[in-house]
Amino acid sequence: MSGHVDLDYLRGTLRASRNSARDLANVAETRCTKRRALIAAGVDLDAAATVELGDEAAEAGQSPFALGAGETFERRLFDNGYAQLIEVLRHDLGWPESDVSVVDIDAQHPWPHSSAEDFPKRRDRVARQRLKASLGHVAAMARGDSDAPTVLVKPRLHVTFGENLLPVEPDLVLRRSDAPLVRVGDAKGYPDHDHRTDQGKLRQARRQVAVYHIALTEALDELVADGRLSERERTTALEGKWPCDPDDRTQQPSGDQRGVLVLRRGRMTARARIEDLRSDVAMVRDGIVRAPATLREMLADLPEGATLDDPEVLAALPITYEPSSCLAGCPFVKRCRSMAHAAADPRLLGPVTHGVVAPVGDMRTAARLLRGELGPASEAQRAWLEQMRPVAPRQPRAAGGSS
C-alpha cells in the first residue's frame, strides 16, 4: 500500500469507531500492529472482529446494568441546568461562586439520527459544525474572553495518529472564571470507592483523559498557527495552576498536566477529582509515535486496493499477542491466542516466561533442549542451556488429573 490513505475507502463497509479516545488510550498498552492499524484507520474493532471471526469474536459490549447506571449518572449530572456538575465543581474543586456559563455542543449541534435521509452527509456536516464551534469556544476560553464559557460540554477535537486525525469528544473542557487555565475532564459512571476504587478502571479513565489533554494541546497549537491565539495565551492555558487546588499534593510549580475525573458516589451523587496525567500523557504519546507509526507503514504488506472489511486482509495483518493488554478487551483475542499457542510463543504465559524462554525462541524448543532431545543450535542456546539445566532435572512430574 502506498500513496494517500483514504480512510473511508480503507474502512469499506466497516463502521467507524464510536470511541476513538478509548481506542487511543489502548494504543499506549499494545504493540500489536493489527490493533494499531485498525485504531489508526478509525475502525470499530468489534465490527472488524465480527467480520473476520464471526462467532469466535470475543463478547462485545457492557452489562445492561453497568450501562444503565452510567447513563443515569451522566443524565443526572447534566440535568437541571447542569446543577449537579456545577455543585461538584464548586464543592470538590474549589470552583468560585461566580457565574458559571455552560455551552453544550451536543445540544447546539445534535447528531442526526442514523435513520435520517442522507445520513452520512448530514453526519459529516454536523461533525464540521461541532469542530468549528468547539475550536471557537476553546480559543475564547484560552484567551479568557469575558463571554467565554467556563464549562464546554462534549466539544469535538482531534488527535493526530500517523497521517490521520482521529476525532475525540471529551465530556468537559473547563476554565475557571478566576484563572485563564483550561483543562479537560471526563465523567465516568462506575462507582468511586475512595482508595478502594478499581485501580484498573481508574488507570483506563486517566489514559482517556490524557488523550483529551493531547487533543486540547493540538487544538491550542492549531489556534496559535491560525493566529487566533498568542503563544503566551496557549502556554498559560495549558500550564497554569489551579488557584486553590484542594487535592494538590504534588506541589508542581508549573507545566503540570492535570485533568478532572467526575466519578459516581453511591447511586445519586458525584465527586470530582483532579488527576495528575503526566505519566499517562507520556505513555499515550509514546504509544502514538511507536513504530510502525503511520498507517502506510502498518499496512505496507497489503496489496494495492485492499480494504479492511475483507476477512483475508484482516487475517493478514501482523499481530503481537500479549496477555496483559489483549485479554483486557481486544475482540480478536481468542484467534491471536490460538496463533500464539500454535507457535509456542512464550508471550502466551506472560512476561516472566517470555523473559526466561525468549533467548531460545519458543517454549517447545526450550523444553526439548532441556530434555536433551535437541542439541543447542547456536551459542545463545548453548549458554541458555548451561544456565537453565540445573532447573531441568528438578522438572516435576505432570500433574494431570492429580485431584
Partner: protein, 495 residues
C-alpha cells in the same frame, strides 16, 4: 508461584506448556486448611457499588446456602441479604472465638487464645475486594442505624459484628497472603501448581481448576472451554443481557414496589432460579480447589494436627485479637496512622520472612528450586572433618563439610548457610565451589562460622549422607508496638 525464582518459574512454565498439563510447584501444602472452612462465593451486580446479587455460603461442599437479592439496586432488599450474610459469618466464627484455651508461656504472661482459628475461603482476589466493600457497607449501615434508628429500621445489630469480622479478615489478607485466616482459592492453587496459563487467565477459577485437573495433553483445551462460565465476582454482559436483566425486570413487575418479606419470597424465585446455579458453581469450584490442596501433605508449620505448629499458633492469636476487638469498641477507620502502618508493615514483613524460611526448610522441591540462585544447597557429603582456622589471635578447630552437588551450582556470595535437619542452628560460610564439567557436578566446601551451637558436625555426618542448607536470615531488633495492636482502629492512636 511467586515464591519461586523467575528462572524456575519460566522454565517450569515452558515445560508445563510442552506437556500441556499443570506441574506441581511444591511438594508440600504451604497453608493451613481447616476441616470445615467457611466458603463464601459472592456475585455482584455490574456497575453498582458492592450490590450483591447472590452469595453461596457454607461449609458443606454439596449443600451451600445461597442468599439471593432479587433486586440488588433496592437498598432495603440488599440490606436483608447483608443481614443474612452477617448472620452466617457470625454463626461460624463466633463459637470458634468463644472456645478459649488458657496458655501460659514459660517466660511470658498467660494468654487466652481461641482453641482453633476460623478460616474463610473465597474463590478469587476480586472476592476479597468485594467482601471488603460489602463489609464497609455493613458497618456503615449499622453505624447509621445506631445513630438514627428511625432512618434505618431494617438494620439488624448483627450487621456490625458480621461486617467487623469481614473487614478484619479482608484487611488482614493483603499484608499476609499466606495466612490461613482468609484463603483465596485461585491464589492458593497457583502457589502450589504451575499452570500454562497467563496471570489474567488464571484469575478465572473454573478455568484454572480445569487446567490443573485436566489429564496431560488437554490442559489448554479444558481451561479455554471453561472460560465461558462465570469465573469471578461479576456475571458476564451476555448473561446479564439475556438472563439476569429480564429476570430482575420480571421480579420488579410482579412485586410492584413491595418490599415485605412475604411478597419478596413469593416472587424472588424468578431471579433465584437463574442466579443460584452461577453462585453454586463458584462455590463448588472453590471446594474443588480446597480438596485439591488437601491432597498435599502440610508443612510442619501449618499442620493443624500439631498444636505447637508455628503458623497455627500465630493464626489462633491473630483470630483471637480480631474477636476481642469486636467484643470491644469495634470501630473501623478508613486509613491507618503512618506510625501504625509502619508497624503493621514491619510485622508483616517479618512474618513473610519466616514463612519463606519455612518453605525452604520444609519443602524439598522449593528448596531445590532456590538452589538455582545459590540461595539453598542440596547435596551429598563427601568429607566431614575439622580444620584449623585463625579466630582473632588463636587458632581454633572448625567443622568442615565438603558436599557434592549434581550439576553446576553457583553460590550466593556473602550468604551464610544454615545446616538443616541438625540440632541447633549451625551456620556455615562458603570456602569454594568449583564446577567439574566432566563429572557435571560442583564440589562445595563449607566451614562452620563458629556462631550458634558448638556441635561437632563432623561427628554426626559421614560421607554419603544427604545434607541440605538454607539461607540464614539474621533477626534485627525493631521498635515494637504492642503485639496485640489490631489491624484497624478508629481512635485512639497506638502509644
Amino acid at each position: 508461584m511467586t515464591h519461586l525464582p523467575a528462572e524456575v518459574r519460566g522454565v517450569w512454565a515452558a515445560q508445563a506448556f510442552d506437556a500441556d498439563a499443570a506441574v506441581p510447584a511444591t511438594s508440600r501444602r504451604h497453608l493451613r486448611l481447616d476441616d470445615d472452612p467457611l466458603v463464601i462465593a459472592p456475585l455482584e451486580l455490574a456497575g453498582e457499588n458492592a450490590a450483591l446479587t447472590a452469595v453461596a455460603i457454607g461449609t458443606d461442599p454439596d449443600h451451600p446456602t445461597v442468599l439471593v437479592c432479587p433486586e440488588p439496586r433496592d437498598s432495603r432488599l440488599q440490606l436483608a441479604l447483608l443481614n443474612e450474610l452477617a448472620r452466617h459469618v457470625c454463626d461460624h466464627l463466633d463459637p470458634l472465638a468463644a472456645d478459649r484455651e488458657p496458655v501460659t508461656a514459660p517466660d511470658g504472661p498467660t494468654e487466652n487464645p481461641a482453641r482453633r482459628a476460623g478460616q474463610l475461603v473465597v474463590p478469587t482476589p476480586a472476592a476479597v475486594e468485594l467482601l471488603l466493600r460489602v463489609a464497609e457497607r455493613m458497618t456503615w449501615s449499622a453505624r447509621r442505624a445506631e445513630e438514627d434508628p428511625d432512618a434505618a429500621p431494617h438494620v439488624d445489630p448483627i450487621l456490625q459484628r458480621g461486617g467487623g469480622w469481614l473487614i478484619q479478615l479482608c484487611d488482614h489478607h493483603p499484608l499476609r497472603p499466606d495466612s490461613g485466616l482468609l484463603v483465596v482459592a485461585s491464589d492458593a492453587v497457583r502457589a502450589h501448581w504451575i499452570v500454562p496459563l497467563a496471570d489474567h487467565e488464571a484469575l478465572h477459577l473454573p478455568a484454572l481448576m480445569a487446567a490443573v485437573t485436566a489429564p496431560a495433553g488437554s490442559c489448554h483445551a479444558s481451561a479455554w472451554a471453561a472460560e465461558d462460565e462465570i469465573g469471578g465476582v461479576v456475571t458476564t454482559p451476555r448473561f446479564d443481557r439475556a438472563v439476569l436483566a429480564p429476570a430482575v425486570e420480571e421480579f420488579n413487575r410482579r412485586r410492584q414496589g413491595a418490599i415485605d418479606a412475604a411478597t419478596v419470597s413469593r416472587h424472588e424465585s424468578v431471579v433465584r432460579q437463574v442466579i443460584e446455579p452461577e453462585a453454586t458453581a463458584m462455590y463448588e469450584a472453590t471446594h474443588q480447589a480446597i480438596d485439591l490442596l488437601r491432597t498435599l501433605a502440610p508443612l510442619a508449620a501449618v499442620d493443624t494436627a500439631r498444636p505447637e505448629a508455628l503458623r497455627v499458633v500465630r493464626e489462633r492469636r491473630a483470630f483471637t485479637r480480631m474477636a476481642d476487638y469486636l467484643d470491644g469498641p469495634a470501630r473501623f477507620a478508613k486509613t491507618d496512622s503512618p506510625r501504625r502502618a509502619v508497624h503493621l508493615l514491619a510485622q508483616a514483613e517479618e512474618e513473610e520472612k519466616q514463612v519463606h524460611q519455612e518453605r525452604l526448610r520444609g519443602d524439598p522441591r522449593v528448596r531445590r528450586a532456590h538452589a538455582v540462585t545459590g540461595a539453598t544447597l542440596d547435596g551429598t557429603v563427601v568429607v566431614a572433618d575439622s580444620v584449623q582456622r585463625r579466630a582473632k589471635v588463636n587458632m581454633t578447630s572448625r567443622s568442615r563439610l565438603v558436599v557434592e552437588v549434581p550439576g553446576r551450582w553457583v553460590p550466593n556470595l556473602g550468604q551464610t548457610y544454615e545446616l538443616l535437619d541438625h540440632p541447633g542452628p549451625v551456620l556455615f560460610r562458603l570456602e569454594e565451589a568449583p564446577y567439574d564439567a566432566e563429572a557435571d557436578s560442583t564440589t562445595v566446601t563449607l566451614v562452620c562460622t563458629g556462631k550458634g551451637a558448638n556441635q561437632r558436625v563432623e561427628n554426626n555426618l559421614a560421607a554419603g549422607d544427604p545434607v541440605a542448607f538454607a539461607p540464614h536470615e539474621p533477626d534485627y531488633p525493631w521498635l515494637s508496638l504492642p503485639a496485640d495492636t489490631p489491624a484497624l482502629l478508629a481512635e485512639p492512636e497506638a502509644p
